[in-house]
Symmetry: C2
Subunit: 207 residues, 2 copies
DNA sequence: ACCTGAACACCGTTCAAGT
DNA sequence: ACCTGAACACCGTTCAAGT
């Protein structure tokens, strides 16, 4: 009834808040309308439909991702630092990765980082297709890792009794390994070492 | 009406067929019932609800994944071959990865491969936490890569005009790189080189 | 130009009633 | 033990009608 005029921006803002708090699945047109205090159908006038609404949300968040400054002395270290910064940015928007992923906007999301990466890969002495390969490898690795990682956090109880199996089979031969595999994964650390290994391998391997 | 008795197995089989053809989203209880020629509610008696149905489907497919035999002369090559085999198996069930992922069953899915990997990492001379780290790194990398890759196939038109941007900015400095980044990704090749680089890096980097 | 309610075609799930 | 239809509480979306 007594409402100020609804704007597209207000719709996006409220929708973003809902996604932030409860994830994309919880964003229904009806709940959004209730939150806004309008009729469901009003939303359609401003954003078209649910799909374009989500598109706009993703667009917005991607545009807000800050620039990335590489740190470190060697090219390898600088490349790895870009990967780590990228992961940090993505994790700051917990629902973004999955949404970008579903919408096929991975490339777009990567553009700023890509530019930086190209610069560093050049500094490492690579050119042309080799350089492109390294950039792509980092891209895939970061997104892939964040996807896997995010998912583990959502479903904390990983498959029942992994420990049990390992306890029996490996404990006597390599108990330290059995114990390590039974522990929850320290993804922060895993990412750091994996990226370092990957970058090292990529820079030295002939293509 | 004139139907043979409905069995849990028949429900799973038909559901699996629907998922295979149209993906998990297309598996609705009502469509499934229509396909089976029963009332929607009959399905509930056999499988509980949609969620447990999907769980059972995943369970089933994971159990069917074949054993993995490493190939190659060096440990590094054998580890990489396991990663490639794993990727191949996952790609043979296009909807499996996402479903496993959503259900938090990644560990379970990885158990058979994990055993093989541990063996090979041992052969490479690593023990304890170091060895575990390498196994985990491979796990994350393979699942992550397949997730990213699968998704690109689903939404083929990646963000508009990536080429344009690169064409302008980099073309003069490194035209070969600009061209390479504009081309669609050869994921098969990317995976092979990335895994090789990662394994190389992991085996030689001190932890 | 913007907003509305009614209506349509879908969902998953529960439940009392049948055999 | 197994199957059923009716009913409930949800969805996204369209559309004619309002101002």
């Amino acid at each position: 009834m007594a409402r100020t005029a609804l704007t597209r921006d207000e719709v996006l803002e409220t929708a973003a808040a809902l996604v932030r708090q409860h994830g994309p699945a919880a964003l229904t047109m009806r709940k959004l309308a209730a939150e806004l205090g309008t009729a469901v159908t009003s939303i359609y006038w401003h954003v078209g439909n649910r799909e374009s609404l989500l598109d706009a949300l993703v667009e917005r968040t991607v545009a807000d991702l800050g620039a990335i400054r590489p740190r470190g002395a060697t090219p390898a270290e600088r490349i790895a630092s870009v990967a780590r910064a990228l992961r940090r940015d993505l994790r700051a928007h917990p629902h973004l990765v999955a949404m970008v992923h579903e919408r096929g906007l991975t490339e777009r999301m990567f553009l700023p980082a890509q530019r930086v990466l190209v610069h560093e890969v050049h500094a490492a002495g690579l050119r042309g297709a080799r350089a492109a390969g390294v950039v792509r490898a980092i891209q895939f690795h970061v997104v892939g890792h964040v996807l896997v990682e995010r998912n583990r956090e959502r479903s904390p109880a990983q498959s029942p009794a992994e420990e049990d199996l390992w306890a029996v089979e490996t404990a006597d031969r390599d108990p330290a390994l059995a114990r390590a595999l039974a522990r929850p994964v320290d993804t922060e650390r895993l990412f750091a070492t994996t990226v370092r290994a990957l970058v090292t391998g990529l820079l030295e391997t002939a293509d």
